[in-house]
C-alpha cells in the first residue's frame, strides 16, 4: 500500500494531471485502513487485480467512451469484494496515468468514489470524508459527496453539511448536487434552507438536483435508499415543500427543474402544497397539479 498521509495538493491542476486524489487521513484512521487493506489483499487478491487492471486500461477505456466520461462506476461496481481495493486506489498517491486525458482521470476518480459509496461499508467513511475534503475538481467533489452520502450515516450527513458550508462557488454547488444521495432529514432540511437563501440560478439548480435526489421516491423505496426509514415522510415533505415554493416563484429553466424534481419526489402532500401557493401563478400551479400522481 502506498503512503496514506500526504500533504494537500497545491493546485487542482497538479493533482489532476497525476490522477491522484491526495487524500489526507488522520493517523488513527490511516492505520486502521492500512490494516484493512492489507487483510483484504490477502483475502481477495482478485479484486485488487481487477481494479488495477481497470486502472491500467484507463486510457483505452477513456478512448472508447461515448459521451462525457467512461462509465467507470458501473465497471467498478461489478467487481465483487473490491471495497478495500477501491480504498487503496483512492488513497494512493501514485499517478493514475500521467498522460491520460482529463476525462480519463475524472472518470477514474469519480468512479472510485461512487463505487465505494455504493458498497455502503461504514468503515470507509473516513476515506470518503477525506476524499471530499481533498477533491478540487467539481465533478470529483460531487462524486465524493455522492459517495459519502450513500452511507447515509449521521456522520456522513454532518460532514456533507459542513463541507457545503465551508466550500464556495462551483465547489459548493458540487456538494449540493452530490449530497442528495444522503437521504436523511438533516440533509433535506439543510438543502431546503439553502434553496431559500440561494442568490444565483446556478446555485438553485444544484440545490434542486440535491433535493430531487434526497427525496427521490423510487430510490427511497429500495432497501439501500436510506438507513433511516422512519425519516422518509419528513425527507420527502421537506424536499417537496422547498421545490413547490421554487416552482411557484420562478420561471423558465428553473421552474422546469423544480417541476421535474417535484414529480420525481412525488410526495403525498404535493397537491396540497401546490394548492396553498396557487395564488402566485394559478395556471402554472394547475399544470403541475395535473401532472402529479
Amino acid at each position: 500500500m502506498k503512503m496514506l498521509t500526504l500533504t494537500m495538493v497545491v493546485t487542482a491542476q497538479v493533482a489532476l494531471a497525476g490522477g491522484a486524489l491526495e487524500v489526507k487521513l488522520a493517523p488513527a484512521d490511516a492505520a486502521k485502513i492500512e490494516k484493512q487493506v492489507a487483510l483484504a489483499k490477502k483475502a481477495q487478491p482478485a479484486a485488487f487485480e481487477q481494479v488495477a487492471k481497470i486502472q491500467r486500461d484507463l486510457t483505452v477505456i477513456d478512448a472508447k467512451k461515448r459521451g462525457r466520461f467512461a462509465p467507470l462506476t458501473t465497471l467498478l461496481n461489478s467487481v465483487p469484494e473490491a471495497t478495500w481495493a477501491l480504498v487503496e486506489a483512492i488513497v494512493s498517491t501514485a499517478a493514475v496515468a500521467p498522460e491520460a486525458p482529463r476525462t480519463a482521470v475524472i472518470a477514474w476518480q469519480t468512479g472510485l468514489l461512487e463505487s465505494l459509496g455504493d458498497r455502503r461499508v461504514l468503515a470507509t467513511e473516513p476515506v470518503l470524508m477525506a476524499a471530499l475534503e481533498a477533491a478540487t475538481e467539481p465533478e470529483v467533489i460531487r462524486s465524493a459527496a455522492d459517495g459519502l452520502g450513500r452511507l447515509g450515516t449521521d456522520g456522513a450527513a454532518t460532514a456533507l453539511i459542513a463541507a457545503a458550508s465551508k466550500r464556495e462557488g462551483a465547489a459548493r454547488e458540487a456538494v449540493f448536487a452530490g449530497m442528495g444521495s444522503c437521504r436523511r432529514t438533516a440533509v433535506a432540511g439543510f438543502l431546503a434552507r439553502q434553496l431559500a437563501l440561494a442568490s444565483t440560478d446556478s446555485e438553485r439548480l444544484a440545490l434542486v438536483k440535491g433535493l430531487s435526489r434526497v427525496g427521490n421516491e423510487w430510490a427511497l423505496e429500495t432497501s439501500g435508499g436510506t438507513p433511516a426509514k422512519n425519516e422518509i415522510p419528513a425527507i420527502r415533505q421537506l424536499a417537496a415543500s422547498a421545490l413547490v415554493k421554487l416552482y411557484a416563484e420562478s420561471q423558465g429553466h428553473l421552474r422546469q427543474a423544480a417541476s421535474d424534481a417535484v414529480l420525481v419526489i412525488n410526495a403525498p402532500e404535493t397537491k396540497v402544497l401546490l394548492a396553498q401557493l396557487r395564488a402566485k401563478d394559478p395556471a402554472a400551479i394547475d399544470t403541475l397539479i395535473a401532472k402529479t400522481h
Binding site: 481497470i54 483505452v60 461489478s78 486525458p101 430510490a219
Partner: protein, 621 residues
Amino acid sequence: MTSRSWLVAVVVVVGLGCEKPKATLEGSTLPVRIDPATPSIDLRADVNRNGIIDLDAADDDKEDTWDAQHGAIFLANIDDDAARCKATDAQGRQLSDEQLPNCNDATDEVVNGADDEQDLAPLELIAWPQAPMGTTAQFVVDADDKVRLFRKLATGWEAIDLSKPLPLGDLTQGATYGLEGRDITRNQQWDGFVTVTMRVTVPQQAYYVPGTYDDVVKLRVAPVLTFFHTLPVETAYVSSMPNDPRTPTVLDPDSRVFVAALRAHLMTARPNSNLISPTVFDQWTQDYFETGYASMPGTNGAQHVMKVFFRSANIEQTSFTSRGMRQAGRIVFSLFRGKDAAGVQQIDMTSPDESQSLNSFGNFETIPPYSLGAKTWPLGRVIRGSIPGFAPDQSFMGMTESQKYQGPEVTIDTSWLLVGHVDETMSFLKASSPRGWILLVNDARLARQMLQDEVGKGNGGVHLFVGQKWMDDNGNETSADTTIQALLNNTAVMMASAEAAVKVDEQLAIVKRETGITDAEIIKVPFLHEDVQGTSLAHQPGTVNLFVLDDHNLVVPDPHGPVIGGKDLFKTHLEQAVAPFGYTVLWLDDWNLYHRMAGEVHCGTNAFRSIPSTKWWEVTP
C-alpha cells in the same frame, strides 16, 4: 430574356433614325428608314428545373426570381470526381485537420472530367449574331466569392475571369457556361442565392440603341439535407474496431462478432444494400460522421445527387494538455470524399470540453416529414439535445440552420444524460398513418412496472443479463447477472430511472408541441437507467437506440431481459408493440462493445439512405 430598359444609358431622340443609303427591294433602289433596334440579351438557366436549358419561354420567365415553382439551382461542387484529393502529403504523412478539407472540385479552376461537368449548373447565352462591333459582354455576379463560372470550349472548359469581358464570339455565336458553387452555406451571412447578370454594352452605332443591357438570372445553391429513419438504407456503416489503438491491425473480437451479425441482418433484409466497415479506433459509427445529400434537377425528373458527409464537430482530449478534432471523423475526407461525394467539416475549436458529447451525431437526428398547422417540414426537421449553457458547437449548428429546409432545429434537454444524445431516448419509424411515422420513446416507468408485475407473479427471482459481463473486454470481466428483485432494489438504478421517467416526459412534451404527435402515435420502450457521475445512462440495453433498415426491419439491441415462460419479457414487449406497424425486430447483441460503454446499436451504426422523392426546390422552407 430580359432587356433592362431602365439600365439603358442612351439618348433616344424622337424621330431619330438613320437613313440607310440604299436598300435593295426587288431590284429597285429606294431609300429606307430603319429605327435602331433594342438589343435582346438572353442568358438562360434551368429555370423550370427540368435538367436542361429550354429555348422557349419556360426557362426565361421570371428567371430573375426564385421560389418553389421556378428558379435555377446549383450545387456546391465540393466532391472529388477525379479522386485527386488526398488525406496524406507526398511523404505519406497525415494532412492536418486544417488542411484536410481544403481539396475538392471547387478548390481548383478546372472541370475535372465528365463527372465534374455534371455538377455544373448550365447557363446558355443565346446568340446575337448582329451584335455590332465594339459590343462587350461580361458576367456580373453579386456573390462572386461563392461561385465560379466556366465557359465551354470545343476542347473542354475554362474558368472565367469575371473581371474581364467575354469574347465577342460568345455573344454573336452563343455560348454555354457552367456554374459551380464553391461551398455550401455555412452561416446566415449568405442566404445561398446568387444573381448572375449578363451585362452587354452596346456602343454608339446606327442599328441598335447604344447602352448597357442586363439579363439577370437568380440561382440558389442546393442545401445539404440529412436523412430520416423512414427512408430505407442503401449503404450501412459500422466501424471495425481495433482492440487497442496501439495495435490497430488486431481487431476487437466483439467488434468482429457485431459486424458479422449486422451484415447478416442487413443482407437478409436488404440484400441489395452495402455494408462498409472501415477499421477505425472509434466504435461510435453514428457519432463521428453524419450522412446527407445535396441535389439539383437532373433530366427526366430525376435529382442529380451529391452525397455529403459531415465530420462531427467533436474536440477530443488527446492527452492531459492537448486537444484536437475527433480523429475518426477524418474518414469523411480520407474514405468518403470522391466521385459525387463530399466531406464537410465546420467546427469552433474554442467550444468547451464539457459539451463536446453533444457534437456527436447520435445527438443529431431528423424528424420525418410533417405538417403542423400552417407550417410544414416536407423534408423533415432536425432534432438535437441542446439547452442554454450546454449546447452543441454553435458554428456547426449555424451551418445546418443555414440550409433552411430542415429547421429551425427542435432542441430538447439531454443534459441529464451521461452521453447527452437524442438517440438515447427516442427514435422514429415509418407507419401507415396520416402522419406517416410514429415515435418510439423510452419509458423507465413502464420498465419498472413490468418488473414489479413479475414480482407480483412470483417471478422476482428470475435473472436478467444472464451470461453478460460488466468490464472491459481485455479480461477480468465480472458477471452482470442480477434478478428482477435485485434490480428493483438497486438504489442508484431506481433513482436514475425515476429521474429519467420525468425527464423523458419533458422531452416528449417538446416533441409533441413541435410536431403535434399524439399519444396514439407513440410507442413506449421500456428500460431502466442508472446513475453515473450524477447523470443518467441506460442500465438495461436501451432498445430505443435501434437501427432502422427499412419499412419492415429494425435491428435492436438484445435486452438480455428476464426469460419468463420461455420468452424474454422485454423482447416480447417490443416485438408486439411494433408488429402492428409491419415491423420485424432483428435482435443484435451489443452488450460488450456498446452497451457497457454507454451506447447501443444505433450508436454503433450509420447509414446512407434513399434520397427522398420530395425535391427540396419544390417546397417552401
